[in-house]
């Protein structure tokens, strides 16, 4: 066997000297800050007290804005490079990757606007990687890592870390993390619902150098690729990750040349402090106290029954402590190691804070975390199997934190989003005579939770990704894999009922083109719908939860446990994803809005009556029986 590990053609390292930039174009959501003499518990979007003297150190506020812009531009360009060059559909169609920049400490100085599940865990992961190598970090090194015991989330999310040196000293790390299509192990695509421990899931990669002082370690790379399916895709994706790290390095060095390291360091320090002050100002407006949120983690096939995850949020002044309690870990792939649990908790926090970018580690300085004793589902230890953790239990963990914050500030926090329950597929592609394997991100696109101001977005989940994914064009998917996608659409009655309705979930129906296909199920949310907020709940539960429907010879079998199965051409599976939770009591939803949803097939006649108390005489005229409607609606109030 030849060792085909690739040499990355030396980057065009001509340093683009042009790198100043700020970010008004990026940050279009932010509105001018309003000074509020805020009473506690009164919340307004971006209503933050801005201390009159902004800088705590001698930072020129203009250069500060410019440096912030360079960092954001850098992260954006890293992301673009990754997306455009990656091979696997999970990267290039689904956007299931993230990029970040760390300083030498290493503190995260810019978090991309990508996938929330990746970014919380990058902080402990970066620290673990840096600590592992200590002072053995050199210019030209490139470090690979995926293992959850070193702060990773799940092992298929593979991280690349490039130390950036300036004048011989370590100054930054450019970091990418992305979901590969395969990571070795007994089951294609990494998700093995039958795994009893982590060794039955994947190839574990502790921090390892794949470049040593600029020289690729082809033997190590070959060892890794030899353990993975669809090698060509994995090699291409590694190149994409490395390319993105190099793009980041190029920009950061140009920034230091232009503004000088001292000045840039001051600005970066100030950006971290500003983020800290911002989060503190939000927390300060929450009344002091202890708030509890409890969410149920569904039994999706392990047989140990449902579990409770509890979050206790303690607010004191401008600080916040979040403690998690979860049951002991189980021999099933839903255990979350500490790195991943960071992501779950931070997402719950962001559902409260609702901050516009930029994001950095300063945001979390005022938040202390306790994930409970080691060996529990939200603080797992070796050898717990874990592959499903980025969705399950993460979304339940996020819900628990969100619910605690909802108790603290009921008017602000949005409803839960639909949880992920989806598919990986694998098989043989006769068209090119090669193996294929991939996670199908289109199968996890659920509905968003409604907010205090509007209906939830359709088809923009799941909760753990918060709209950052893209599901990929169906023609491109059919071009890449030997499949036929018969349906990718919204589902009637799937959005949680509420004064503001939850977003609709999606159905994705697939048939293999000409050979048997293996499908591997993961996730949950197949019995318990997305949790509503501010008194929202649905009478019709069944259409609002996820499921898999396998159709063979016209017979439909509904599957709610995570299984591995196969189908042949002529047979299909339809993966259905839950809608988001509603906000406010559904009987408060204006009748004309309910009628409009019925007209558009988002709510059925039955749903209108049972969920919303609106009686519509027939599907054709859509005339409302006002008397019956008033009677139904008044019965509850």
């Amino acid at each position: 066997m030849k060792a085909p590990a690739k040499r990355i053609s030396a980057a065009k390292t001509a340093k683009a000297k042009v790198s100043k930039a700020t970010s008004a174009a990026v940050n279009v959501s932010a509105k001018p800050a309003t000074k509020v003499a805020a009473r506690k518990t009164k919340f307004k979007k971006t209503a933050v007290k801005v201390s009159t003297r902004i800088t705590s150190r001698s930072v020129d506020p203009i250069t500060l804005s410019v440096v912030r812009g360079v960092l954001e531009t850098t992260q954006r360009e890293m992301t673009l490079a990754l997306e455009k060059t990656a091979r696997s559909s999970v990267f290039n169609l689904a956007h299931d990757y993230s990029t970040a920049i760390f300083n030498a400490k290493p503190e995260m100085i810019l978090q991309g606007q990508d996938i929330p599940i990746h970014l919380g865990s990058l902080m402990p992961a970066m620290k673990a990687v840096s600590a592992y190598f200590g002072d053995d970090i050199h210019e030209g090194d490139l470090i690979l890592h995926n293992d959850p015991s070193y702060g990773g989330s799940h092992a298929i999310d593979t991280c690349m870390y490039k130390p950036v040196f300036y004048k011989g000293k370590l100054v930054y790390w450019t970091v990418c993390k992305g979901h590969l299509t395969d990571i070795g192990g007994p089951v294609p695509a990494g998700y093995n619902p039958n795994a009893k421990d982590i060794f039955a899931e994947c190839l574990r990669i502790p921090p390892v150098k794949i470049w040593d002082k600029g020289k690729p370690r082809n033997d190590v790379l070959n060892m890794i690729f030899t353990n993975m399916r669809a090698r060509r895709d994995q090699e291409g994706d590694f190149n994409a990750l490395i390319g993105a790290c190099q793009v980041g390095e190029r920009n950061l060095l140009a920034m230091l040349d232009k503004y000088g390291k001292g000045q840039v360091d001051d600005c970066v320090g100030e950006l971290l402090d500003m983020a800290e002050r911002h989060m503190r100002s939000l927390i300060k407006e929450v009344p002091d106290g202890t708030y509890e949120g409890v969410a149920i983690l569904e039994d999706a096939g392990h047989g140990f029954g449902d579990f409770e995850i509890k979050a206790t949020v303690t607010i004191k002044g401008d600080g916040c402590h979040i403690a998690i309690a979860s049951p002991p870990q189980i021999p099933y792939f839903i255990n979350s190691y500490e790195g991943n649990s960071h992501s779950g908790v931070y997402l719950g926090l962001m559902m409260f804070a609702q901050l516009p970018p930029p994001y950095n580690e300063g945001l979390y300085r005022c938040v202390s975390l306790d994930f409970g004793p080691k060996g529990t589902i939200c603080n797992a230890k070796e050898p717990a199997p874990h592959m499903n953790c980025t969705t399950t239990p993460m979304e339940t963990l996020t819900d628990a934190v969100r619910l605690a914050f909802e108790k603290a500030v009921p008017s602000k926090v949005s409803a839960s989003w639909g949880h992920a329950n989806g598919l990986n597929i694998a098989g043989w592609d006769n068209r090119h005579n090669e193996e294929y394997v991939t996670m199908v991100l289109a199968t996890i696109i659920s509905g968003a939770g409604a907010t205090p101001k509007q209906d939830g977005w359709h088809a923009v989940g799941p909760e753990c990704c918060f709209g950052a994914l893209t599901s990929g064009d169906i023609e491109l998917l059919e071009y890449s894999y030997p499949i036929i996608i018969h349906q990718y659409g919204l589902m009637e009655d799937s959005g949680g009922a509420g004064e503001y309705r939850g977003g609709s979930g999606t159905a994705w129906e697939v048939e293999p083109l000409d050979s048997e296909m293996t499908f591997i199920m993961f996730g949950e949310g197949r019995r318990i719908p997305a949790v509503g907020a501010a008194g929202a709940s649905s009478a019709m539960v069944e259409p609002k939860v996820g499921r898999l429907e396998r159709k063979i010879d016209g017979k439909v079998e509904v599957i709610k446990d995570n299984i591995i199965g196969t189908i042949k051409p002529g047979e299909t599976v339809t993966n259905k994803n839950p809608g988001g939770g509603g906000f406010g009591h559904p009987f408060k939803r204006p009748v004309e809005k309910v009628v409009w949803d019925v007209k558009n097939g988002l709510v059925s006649l039955k749903g209108a009556k049972e969920d919303y108390g609106v009686v519509i005489k027939d599907g054709k005229s859509l005339a409302v029986d006002t008397a019956a409607t008033n009677k139904l609606r008044s019965a509850v109030h």
């Binding site: 053609s9 980057a11 930039a21 008004a24 174009a25 940050n27 959501s29 509105k31 001018p32 800050a33 003297r53 902004i54 203009i62 804005s65 812009g69 531009t73 997306e83 455009k84 060059t85 990656a86 559909s89 290039n92 956007h95 895709d233 190099q246 793009v247 190029r250 911002h278 962001m350 559902m351 804070a353 609702q354 901050l355 516009p356 970018p357 930029p358 949005s414 068209r431 509007q454 209906d455 977005w457 359709h458 088809a459 923009v460 918060f466 709209g467 893209t470 064009d473 169906i474 023609e475 059919e478 071009y479 349906q487 659409g489 919204l490 999606t506 083109l513 558009n600 097939g601 988002l602």
Partner: protein, 692 residues
Amino acid sequence: MRSKYRLGIDAGGTFTDFVLADSTGHIRLFKALSTPVDPTLAIRNGLKLISDEIGESPESIISNCDLCINGTTVGLNALIQHKGGKTGLICTAGHEDSIEIRLGHKEDGYRYDAEYPAAEMLVPRYLRKGVRERVISDGSIKTPMHEDDVRDACRAFLAEGVETVAISFVWSVLNMKHEHRAAEIVREMMPKAVLTVGSELYPQVREYTRTSTAVTNAYLAPILKGYVAAVDAYFKQLGAKYPVRYFQSNGGLAIGKAMTDRSVYAINSGPASAPQAGLFVCEPFGHKNVITVDMGGTSFDITLTKDGVTNVNKNIDFLRYRIGVPMIQVETLGAGGGSIGWIDSMGLLQVGPQSAGSDPGPACYGQGGTKPTTSDVNLVLGYLNPEGLLGGRLPLDKSKATAALRTIADPLGMSIERAAYGMYTIVNNNMVNGIRRVSVERGYDPRDFVLVGAGGATAAHITALARDMGIKTVILPKLASGLCAFGQIISDVKYNYMATSPERLDNPSSFGRIDKLFKKIEKQGVEHLETDGFKKSQIAIKRSMDMRYVGQVHECTVEIGNFEVNAKTIGKIIEAFHTRHEELYTYSERQSTVEIVNIESTLFGKVAKPVAQKLGRGMPVAKAVKGSRMAIFSADGKAKKTPVYDGSKLGAGAVVVGPAIIEEVTTTIVIEPGWSAKLDASGSYVIKHKGK
């Protein structure tokens, strides 16, 4: 030019610009207020203005024009305000929702924003009708079309009063049979409806993009149709000898029929003529690498041309709608004269994208604005004439500008002057950031380009931008504020033809197939242009291919000129792809197989250019000085006494050394210390840094 005049009419948000070129090389610029409710009214008003000025009746002007060209915003406005036609979609059953799912993505920047609304649907769900039919990825038919489903859809549309219909089926791009049959049925049952067929409008892979493009086209078609009919009739009545040409967002002209069939090509036509204008004004100096920047009241538009070829976007989100067809890449930022400076929730100073607009406008306009804008900054820095703009017709109030700036200077603990220069720096950096998106993100180093300034407000920032980016040469035409309208009258007719042809290039038998497909779409294009009245000798063709490594999903567009695709040329074509990949992403994989996905031929119908203008020598430079004022050029806020020149008194060859301010009637040019401007006979200032 075949006749006495050529007329360009470019409708903008506030003003409609009129450019009248005559056969002696004289170019006149007029401005009339835009009339969004009845866009033809602005044309009538403008013609009256021109008529009064030159003492010739509109009939005489128009009948003596070899070309009348119109850039219109009616399509854009309809899309912004959601006032298109009532639209129905006929699509593959099971895929009715792709335009609402939008690939399941929420735009970056709004990740945790609980109030950012979902995109407004151009076709509500109840008007999206699925038809049982299916073509699969090899182009074969898996499920024959149920024609009754199409008929049911038409009946429903008729009952609902649908006036325009889009048809878009999965993989129609590889097999158009079903779409064509469905189109026949729609034409038969809904003879009055406007019809858009996805595989004809945008024959490329990507169902969501194709459907969304078709829907947007259908939505705009009735609007464009009505508009074109009104304008065509008006010009005919005035005695126009040739049909009116309309400007498209692909940077070329089209006749009315093409505009109504392909309305989606009209949506961002305004700024798309800037590259042509940029190349034109650079021609005397031999520059073919050009970045144009156009700063108006609310926005800043950027385009880039490399070696005479302008960056094009395909498959992008425009106003939140996915559009496939090629459009000139215009990077638009909220950075105009009215952009507001503010302190964000983190405490950072920002400028824009919010704008004071024209009401209340910048604080210095004295119409009630209290927030500091870029114009206020330029006034406080001493760049703008405190006596007012447009020769004093628009007076400015410096004390109001100062008061507005105090609202950010105080919290930042800075002097008014330093805060003003800070805002100036930040808005310039926003622009630099935008310029990166058209240059660095496309694999180009901006230092290899010249910068051309367009729009009324750009000239106050142009040397600062060049300085920040390391650009050595700036070209600033006296005509800057009407440069886009000018760009339209020097443009060619341009149509894009596309096809999909997924082929791996390690298979030599593919070369002939690819070339044949190019020839096929080009034959169509030539016929189209011949019907428009072009001779073979006036038609030019440029080819491009979307290429990638096998396994990648995003393509990179490679221009191949008019290369034939065969065994001899393929090596060069593949090499061009590797090089482009390296430019864009820092690496290439020369050992990997390359494939092509889409092909495209751009056909140009060449239009003779107007006669270039030529300035005479003016008076000695010193005599053009009209006075001086204190102006600030550094972060410390210290002011320098700076001479002010009257641009109308400068002649060809005049050199103005910075620091200096040159006042033209419609723009004010700031020359920073270290830079100097030389007025060229072609009517442009060439601004360079000392010693370069």
